[in-house]
Amino acid sequence: MSTVPRGLRITLLLAPALLVVVGLFGGGLAQAVAQSLGYQPFLPGRELSLDAYRALWADPAVRASIGITLRVALISTAAAAVLGTAAALLVRSLGRHRRRFAALLQVTLPLPHAVAALAMILLLGQSGALSRVAAALGLVEDPSGFPALTQDGFGWGIIASYVWKEAPFVAVVVLAALSSGVAELEDAARALGANAAQRMRHVLAPVLAPAVAAASVLVFAFTLGSYEVPFLLGRPFPATLPVVAYQQFRDPDLSARPLAMAIAVVTALLVGACVVAYLSLSERLRR
């Protein structure tokens, strides 16, 4: 078709994207690992060691941080998956209002997470809207009487913010999966005498499951590794892993760098391990 040989053509087409993914992403990841072992670019060599990982494991603050990070990610993902799937099935059954509600689902999706976090501070905080409604109903007398749902030790505010953004995301992915001819399959199953439970199990579930699972993996990876929401809605201690990694990174004492990098690497490994587990599980289920 053209004078450029096929192999070279493919290489040239892929080059810019691979430069970013291999150079910046891969290089950054490799640097994070190297610097967690004590390597410092542009500085005189130091001996490599696993000291940062030992310090990380011995530090109760980091261990508490792993706990709250996994807790927030797991609860947010599970809640988003359940609520999102329910919302998608509900919207699908709405008939003539279906379009309007499908559009409504897209309201929270493009909002930046920082805006969602601020909305949660103003809604759930101890002097927020819910607390004021509770005061108007005579349930609490002052802000301190309202349960701490933001800047709390458990992470309720973080979870609420994530679920508000990610449940609609799961719903939109599920609706996209359901739009591809599933209604016709269900009609056929109904015509062949399948009842509601049978249609759910044999027609809907096989379409729903991969979509919900794929969306959940994305939500889990995001909620585990992102910084903005836990920074705004969580406590400085115990904070989630990305927040602690950044705190350590900002430490003017450069000897804190390896620890910051080690925390970042552990976060990436946690995400990686969960994704690999998901992929192998879905592979096995497919057989």
Binding site: L29, L111, A116, L118, R132, L175, S179, M261
Partner: protein
Amino acid sequence: MRRGAGAGLLAVGLLAPLVPLLLWAVAGEFRYPALLPTFSGRGLALLGDAAVRSAVGTSVLIASSVAVLATLAGAAAGRALGLYAFRGRRAVQLLLLAPVLVPTLAVTLGIQVFFIRYGLTDTVAGVVLVQLIPTVPYASLVMASSFASFDPDVEDAGRVLGAGPLRRLRHVTLPAVAPGLAVAALFAFLISWSEYILTLLIGGGTVQTLPLLLFASIGSADLAAAAALSLVIAAPPLLLVGLTARFLTGDRAAVVGFGRL
């Protein structure tokens, strides 16, 4: 009836959290336990500040640059992945998926020292470069799915009929993959528009985008200013998605982009 209740609950759950935000944006006096504020234009008036106007400019500049560069790189890679079966194709696809999943913060902590070394920190160019990490892989995957349903024989037909490379691109290829290009550019723009931590790490606070201003005003506890500012940040994404919703809903590769926002 139960369905109606469910729909009502869904609408309340989606929209109710926005109400306090809107009230605070126009609030003057809003002391506990008042349910409604006294009205004041103070928060909205702050949006005319030089700092906000300059941040709007910086945000638009960075997000547009990221959208253009990521879409170009993504279109090239997507063409290779969508049209050719070559050895290592699966590996390239997995490689492109990694940055979508692995937290970008971890990666950016690792390369920040190189950005300092090569004078890219505190510059718009450095921020644009680092924001290509979360956007290029996504644009590539969207464009790969767009090119997968494109028939390259049509380009050959154009060539046989005497159309040069530019005319083929303009009249044959571009119209066929235009929806993919629009979706890739839209999401790259939105990811960049909302980005905070990468901008802070590489921009060092010198490159002031809107999310940086929002974090600062939340930190200073001026809730009216923060709420007003968040309306400015939320409006363009809402408008863009509202205008393009038709292209987004049915397309699975496109919809996945919301997961990064």
